[in-house]
């Protein structure tokens, strides 16, 4: 395979593909621009509902590009103008995702304040504490010694990002700090993740080990921390080490404490000729059964996840599919899995930085290849064929909504390549 994976010249039937000035790749059979909300199949621009189905028996609450959280109902594509948020299942372990002062189980030196990011209220930490500290706790039953991630949104009154550079929580190198049931470990700076949402608003997550004092779970700012005022909104605590972009209600909030996974697939299309629904057999009719390629744009907002992250894949079940993943070693991998065995596995170099990444890949017997932004990838002349009889193109999670991406997918294009 030479240079760019998908080379011009493998274009399908004449007249199907529009001029190259359009937004999709000339070889694209299916193009899904999640960020832009534009969708194409077989050369026709179609509405989202004609190309994608979503099963998720719960609401989801995710931010748009302006940082305002949008509530999307059951079985609705989890998309804003940031892209598609492909989420797994998460349960918020505190009672309130956006408590008022009265709803916290313990407070000190805080006041109620106006909300932001689409919410009506927040809690203000004044930054100066002549007596005591600023404390906001929500009691919760965490298992001592287990790993949890706490996430909040903060609006910094001075407009500068919060910082977490000190290994000692109550140090001048930290704006504030978290405690998880009076955490037994010292939260060092590497455990904090700061994500800019918009304007003066940042999302801060911390992963650590729970202590044994359940009432001491939440946010602290002492007189030894930076004297910077901020407003706090939202509190999510999840088992494990991932702080997600969605805000999940608590057990005392409307909607329940569990966000179910988004099971997203392109299973149906529309026949260009008569608009009659057709099954995903269109995959074979489009000549994709023996070989196909792809171009994806994804946002990698964190590295070193404990589980692989599924981006897309076509097949019949979890043991028979061709899939693209971002693995625990921070490499994009193209895998051909047949009867439960990974017959072909190609990878890129390890991604070293976060940000948007474009991945181009080709699953073609005798000419496999993958590459991504900033990292070279493997090619392979293995003649292993692809699993046949694809029924589903999955997006953002494997069959059974397993190994979810838990992040933003911006674009997916499935490209025709000559078999």
């Amino acid at each position: 395979m030479d240079g760019l994976l998908i080379s011009p010249g493998h274009v399908g039937a004449p007249g199907i593909f529009p001029a190259a000035s359009l937004w999709w790749h000339p070889q694209a059979h299916l193009a899904l621009d999640f960020k832009g909300g534009r969708y194409m199949r077989g050369g026709l621009v179609l509405p989202e509902t004609s190309l994608l189905t979503t099963a998720r028996s719960s609401d989801i609450n995710i931010p748009n590009a302006a940082g305002v959280f949008q509530t999307l109902g059951n079985n609705t594509l989890p998309r804003t103008d940031r892209g598609l948020y492909a989420n797994g299942q998460f349960t918020n372990l505190v009672a309130r995702r956006n408590p008022t002062l009265a709803q916290l189980t313990f407070t000190s030196n805080l006041t109620d304040a106006d909300g932001f990011a689409g919410f009506g209220n927040s809690i203000r930490f004044p930054g100066n504490y002549p007596s005591g500290s600023g404390i906001g706790y929500q009691s919760t039953a965490l298992t001592s010694g287990a790993t949890y991630t706490i996430s909040v949104l903060v609006e910094m009154e001075d407009g500068n990002p919060p910082v977490f550079g000190g290994a000692i929580p109550a140090s001048a190198a930290n704006t504030f700090y978290f405690t998880l049931a009076q955490s037994s470990t010292v939260p060092g700076p590497l455990f904090y993740v700061v994500e800019h949402i918009f304007g003066n608003v940042w999302k801060v997550s911390y992963t650590g080990t729970a202590g044994a004092t359940p009432n001491q779970t939440g946010v602290l700012q002492t007189s030894n921390n930076q004297a910077r005022a901020f407003r706090l909104l939202g509190m999510n605590i999840f088992s494990g080490s991932i702080g997600i972009s969605a805000l999940v209600p608590g057990s005392a909030d409307t909607g329940g404490a569990t966000l179910l996974a988004s099971d997203i697939r392109a299973v149906q299309g529309v026949r260009p000729s008569n608009s009659e629904p057709e099954p995903f057999a269109g995959w074979e009719a489009a000549g994709l059964d023996g070989a196909f390629g792809g171009k994806n744009i994804v946002t990698i907002d964190r590295l070193n996840d404990a589980a692989a992250r599924f981006i897309t894949g076509a097949g019949g079940d979890a043991n028979n599919l061709t899939k693209l993943i971002f693995d625990t070693d921070n490499r994009f991998k193209l895998i051909v899995r047949k009867s439960g065995v990974d017959e072909v596995a190609l990878q890129t170099g390890a991604v070293a930085s976060t940000g948007d990444k474009t991945i181009e890949w080709q699953a073609k017997p005798g000419d496999y290849g993958i590459e991504a932004t900033g990292v070279a990838g493997d090619t392979d002349s293995d003649v292993e064929t692809l699993p046949t009889g694809a029924t589903t193109l999955r997006i953002g999670s494997d069959f059974g909504a397993l190994t979810p991406f838990n992040g933003w997918l911006r674009e997916l294009q499935i490209l025709k390549v000559a078999a």
Binding site: S57, G73, N75, T105, S139, A141, P214, N215, T258
Partner: protein
């Protein structure tokens, strides 16, 4: 937002809970339970993962401290959320845990 029908299942173990779901999925187009390399798992887009049932405990509203810590009851629970009613689940659902009015 469309209506959601919620069914709470309760059994003496996680395996027994999975068996209830497998029995209820017979003949349905979309399974509740999937086989994976690590064993069986539930459809995460419709079912809250099975978890041990806990007592509510009791929190002191003044301090936020637990007066009585939550404890496992020995049973397992999961919650199935569906866009339409399901007769098989209706037959085996249990009422949700009552809030302690204390």
């Amino acid at each position: 937002m469309s209506e959601v029908y919620i069914y709470t299942l309760r059994a003496e173990s996680e395996a027994a809970l999975i068996a209830l779901l497998e029995a209820a999925q017979a003949g349905k187009e979309r399974p509740f339970v999937f086989d994976t390399e690590e064993g069986k798992t539930v459809d995460a887009s419709r079912i809250v993962f099975p978890q041990p049932e806990m007592t509510l405990g009791e929190i002191d509203p003044e301090t936020g401290e637990y007066l009585v810590e939550p404890e496992p009851t020995g049973f397992w629970l999961c919650e199935v959320r569906l866009p339409e009613p399901d007769a098989e689940l209706e037959a085996i659902t249990v009422p949700p845990q009552q809030e302690d009015e204390g």
